[in-house]
Symmetry: C2
Subunit: 294 residues, 2 copies
């Protein structure tokens, strides 16, 4: 069966883990007639060429010219500079989307530059690994995972449906959400866990050298799970924290209160309080297993 | 080739995840001539019988009588009550060991009860899963993992060597350590990670119900990894925190300082500080991968 591609021409800006996985997933599913690629890094461009991920261009304008869909997949901090370039190159009727982990900042940084007639539908696939770069991508990354779309008010629903269809054909379930609500939910499910993982690994790096080597040796006892998360891309995560500040600080305040309460229970030997907490948290794991997200 | 068992008779006290894995590993490797089992829970005893893990006894005394090695595998909080019973039943020349995650408290609770002529060698396999009970065990749990032994001063080195050989035949690498040093290292590699995972999952359970279901839905973005750890056995973990209080509070203090520093960097938009931290932590992951503990 020959299926028609959903978009004749898709431009991908940024060919790291997510961008390259998009290219592979679209190639595998024949979802795009043509894929055009731009990345600010010459090294990434060369890798994309070598991996045959699409037509690689040295200038952003050439990668988005005539594209029916442009997906921005660069760190959030680079969006503001992209805005004017996108404004010049996008054709009327095109969809502009992205994959950034924060959505209000994207609306703030790209929104004002979106030309009349272009459909601006920010997005965020809840998928990733601790690896970075074009060689880390794979076509199945989005399979069975959620993708969140946060169209701005007044967006053409046909355009949203078309973008939704693309994600679904890449194996994702799609949820439509307000940008501010997205940022709150992700602050607890993703940003706080990463901040805490980075912190605990950093605490360990500041121990004396002999203890540090033992920490690595005996990491299978829990620490290891945090190091995987704390190996995620530093630029990407710096930009996430700087651009979702309010929501992260809010949930971090709650976390610190809860941690202080447990600290006090340990100090004063309040075993019942610890036991109750540890029993409650077990239920959440069951919920995740039931939701097939384990 | 028929190998001689390392111990003619091994008594296992507590047949949960670790106890049942020990029984299976020893059966698989023919490391014990006979395995005798006691558990305070009738349900666990019935499961052990059904799983054919060894000779199951209804009284602790019968399970340790004539045993050449007795391994205690119950939550740390139950050790104090076991001391006098072990004292009455252990035969001269036997080795008394355990698998508890804290070692100073074990020396404190069991040490005074160890009869003359019995070799007391506390131990701790750095292995486990988030599942509990006799049905959760499997023979390969200790394979490629570290086991720490903390013999008390003056322990017969031949006895230590024999216990070491048992762990090695179950696939573990063995490290000898001071109990107090063990407790410090595990506070950072295991106890603090668990405390933090329990806390963040608990913070999530206190959000409004609608957000909670979204947290589960979108948990693949980081949160999920914490829920696995936070599903560990509540009794075991209550006892660990109550019995390694000083070391846990010490490392928790350092962690909180580091978290506060990152919180401040986020509030004041100090991107360089965040980037430096996130780059440093990436190195630790490489160390763990190099040490084959990933």
């Amino acid at each position: 069966m020959t299926e028609t591609p959903i978009f004749p021409r898709v431009g991908i800006i940024g060919i790291g883990l997510i961008g390259s996985s998009l290219a592979r997933a679209m190639q595998l599913g024949r979802l795009a007639g043509e894929i055009t690629i731009f990345d600010a890094s010459a090294e990434a461009r060369a890798a994309a060429q070598e991996l045959d991920l699409g037509q690689v261009h040295d200038r952003l304008g050439d990668a988005i010219a005539d594209a029916d869909l442009v997906i921005v997949a660069v760190p959030i901090g680079a969006y503001a500079a992209l805005g004017p370039q996108l404004a010049r190159g996008l054709k009327p009727g095109a969809i502009l989307s992205d994959v950034g982990s924060v959505k209000q900042a994207v609306v703030r940084d790209l929104g004002p530059h979106v030309p009349e007639g272009v459909h601006f539908i920010p997005g965020h696939p809840i998928a990733g690994t601790e690896h970075s770069g074009p060689r880390a991508g794979f076509a199945e990354l989005f399979k069975g995972r959620w993708a969140i779309l946060t169209p701005v008010p007044g967006t053409d629903s046909a355009a949203t449906e078309r973008l939704k269809a693309l994600w679904e054909r890449m194996g994702s379930m799609v949820e439509i959400m307000e940008p501010s609500h997205h940022d709150q939910v992700l602050a607890i499910t993703s940003h706080l866990p990463h901040l805490i993982a980075y912190t605990i690994v950093d605490t360990a790096t500041q121990l004396e050298t002999s203890t540090q080597s033992e920490v690595i040796k005996f990491s299978a006892s829990g620490f290891r799970d945090f190091t995987r998360i704390a190996a995620s891309d530093p630029t990407m995560w710096r930009d996430i924290f700087l651009n979702n500040r309010e929501a992260v600080l809010e949930i971090l305040g709650r976390f610190t209160e809860d941690l202080t309460a447990l600290q006090r229970a340990i100090r004063w030997g309040e075993g019942d309080k610890l036991f109750e907490t540890f029993t409650r948290t077990r239920e959440v794991r069951r919920g995740i297993i039931d939701a097939k997200q384990a």
